[in-house]
């Protein structure tokens, strides 16, 4: 089945059994905090979750999820120590589905202004501190305002609230920056809160902590992966 144009019943967030083989989502564990909620949320929407602490766990997975909160430099160090940096790049370069949540989105950019870390370099741009924010960290529920339609937000009201916990956000650059921006959020200045580009999906908020709408969004990710709608984008340059 496909999620395109499909409005999920409210508040139905449980999957109907028998929709076919459960998709396996490998959730990368690099010591960056709470994996219980992402595991539970993906399971709730019908995915089969495996926790990936080394590259061997990527084998047979249908999608890769990189969660995480905190700073980029220690996260990159822990990914490197686990031998995960190149396998993640190769996964993305191979056009396989990737979902980055919070830090897992920020790590896709070239680098972070927070600690000068060089990150995965899959998306052009840098992770920068939120501008003109009345409070930092930006903690709490805020509106995710869509700038273009994407099945990621199927069945979710416009400007729905999602839960944020961060002080930095990725700033996409280059010719594809606008086209890959799916949603923006304001806390002081506005920032990019959701991106989608070929096989890459990324959200700055925490769908696993955003109640029914968060579960809907994760269910949409499962549908997108299942539909095979994710295409390889040759313009995504993964540095060697």
């Amino acid at each position: 089945m496909t999620a395109f144009g499909h409005v999920r019943r409210v508040p139905d967030v449980d999957r109907v059994p028998g929709e076919g083989r459960a998709l396996r989502f490998a959730v990368v564990d690099y010591g960056a905090g709470n994996l219980v909620s992402i595991d539970q949320a993906l399971t709730r929407v019908g995915a089969e979750v495996s926790i990936a602490r080394d590259p061997s766990a990527f084998a047979g997975a249908d999608a890769l999820v990189v969660p995480g909160v905190g700073a980029a430099a220690p996260a990159m160090e822990r990914l490197a120590a686990a031998g995960l940096v190149e396998p993640i790049r190769a996964w993305i370069a191979g056009g396989r589905p990737y979902l980055g949540i919070c830090l897992g989105l920020q790590l896709l950019f070239d680098g972070s202004d927070e600690d000068g870390a060089l990150t995965l370099g899959v998306i052009r741009g840098r992770t920068a501190r939120l501008r003109d924010a009345p409070t930092l960290p930006h903690i709490g529920w805020n509106q995710v305002e869509r700038v273009r339609e994407h099945p990621l937000f199927s069945g979710i009201a416009a400007a729905a609230d999602f839960y944020f916990v961060h002080s930095y956000a990725g700033v996409p650059e280059g010719p594809d920056a606008e086209a890959s921006t799916m949603a923006r959020t304001s806390h002081g200045a506005s920032f990019v809160s959701a991106i989608a580009r070929a096989n890459i999906l990324g959200v700055q908020f925490h769908p696993e902590r955003s109640g029914a709408d968060g579960l809907r969004l994760l269910g949409n990710v499962v549908d997108i992966v299942r539909s095979g709608a994710i295409a390889t984008d040759p313009t995504i340059a993964v540095p060697a």
């Binding site: 909620s37 220690p74 930092l136 902590r209 029914a212």
Partner: protein, 259 residues
């Protein structure tokens, strides 16, 4: 626009939610994950578990209920009480908490704040400040151990210091007002919120929806925490949020909970 949060607080002892004056006259109120799920459905924006287990053997039970809660309530969970080291914090986060609240341990060892923040990010470190008014000096003093022990620290200066050390959020409780249902200490909240960049959670003294409005509008709080008025069903989360919305404050209204 960033919503002002309403946060029910659950006191947990040996795996059960209890009510009563902290540590005495405890009455069993039920299973923490069950109550947490109920509050989440009723529109709670976050949950705080305060572990008041006196015995060390309560810790394993706590981690178990944190995990069971994280698997039922898809909203953020902060756990406080008894976290004294980076390893303690790691265990609580691994069990499914999103944030940890440090109180007495931060006073005893302020470097713990920075150690936890650099390991897990400052957004995961809440410092709880219990403050008591000193009328003679016209200020507030930090107290610990549920208000039974004085520290002589000035609460406002302590708030600024813990933020410099790495706190990502402050949970400010007026010990004078806690449990009295006489309203939040607005002066305390304002004195702190005007001087720090991080979000301030107001606690201690909630009696009704008007107090939540005042804590945000007059006290500058980003979030408001309460226990007994929700547990005893004196006011619903939806009613509190509606009053905040009516006062022009941005809140997340949950359609299913509006009834």
């Amino acid at each position: 626009m960033l919503r002002r949060r309403v946060i029910p607080c659950l006191d947990v002892a040996n795996g059960r939610v209890v009510k009563g004056t902290r540590f005495v006259d405890l009455v069993d109120e039920g299973d923490p994950p069950e109550l947490a799920e109920r509050y989440a459905l009723e529109g709670a924006d976050e949950l705080v578990f305060l572990d008041i287990s006196a015995a060390p053997e309560g810790r394993g039970t706590l981690l178990d209920i944190v995990e069971r809660t994280a698997r039922r309530a898809f909203i953020p969970l902060t756990v406080g009480g008894g976290v004294r080291s980076v390893d303690d914090m790691r265990d609580v986060l691994r069990a499914g908490a999103d944030k940890v609240s440090l109180n007495t341990a931060a006073v005893a060892d302020p470097d713990l704040i920075g150690a936890c923040a650099s390991r897990f990010g400052r957004q995961a470190v809440v410092v709880a400040i219990d403050a008591r008014r000193r009328p003679a000096a016209d200020d507030w003093e930090v107290v610990i151990k549920g208000g039974r022990e004085s520290t002589k620290l000035d609460a406002v200066r302590w708030a600024q210091r813990v933020v410099e050390l790495g706190a990502g959020e402050l949970l400010v409780t007026s010990i004078d007002r806690d449990g009295t249902r006489s309203g939040f200490d607005i002066g305390l909240l304002r004195a702190i919120s005007e001087r720090v960049e991080v979000p301030v959670i107001a606690s201690g003294g909630a009696a009704g929806p008007a107090d939540f409005v005042a804590a945000v509008r007059d006290g500058g709080a980003d979030a408001v925490l309460a226990a007994s008025i929700f547990h005893r069903r004196i006011h619903s989360i939806a009613a509190v949020k509606q009053a905040m919305a009516d006062a022009g404050l941005p809140v997340r209204l949950v359609p299913e909970a509006a009834a």
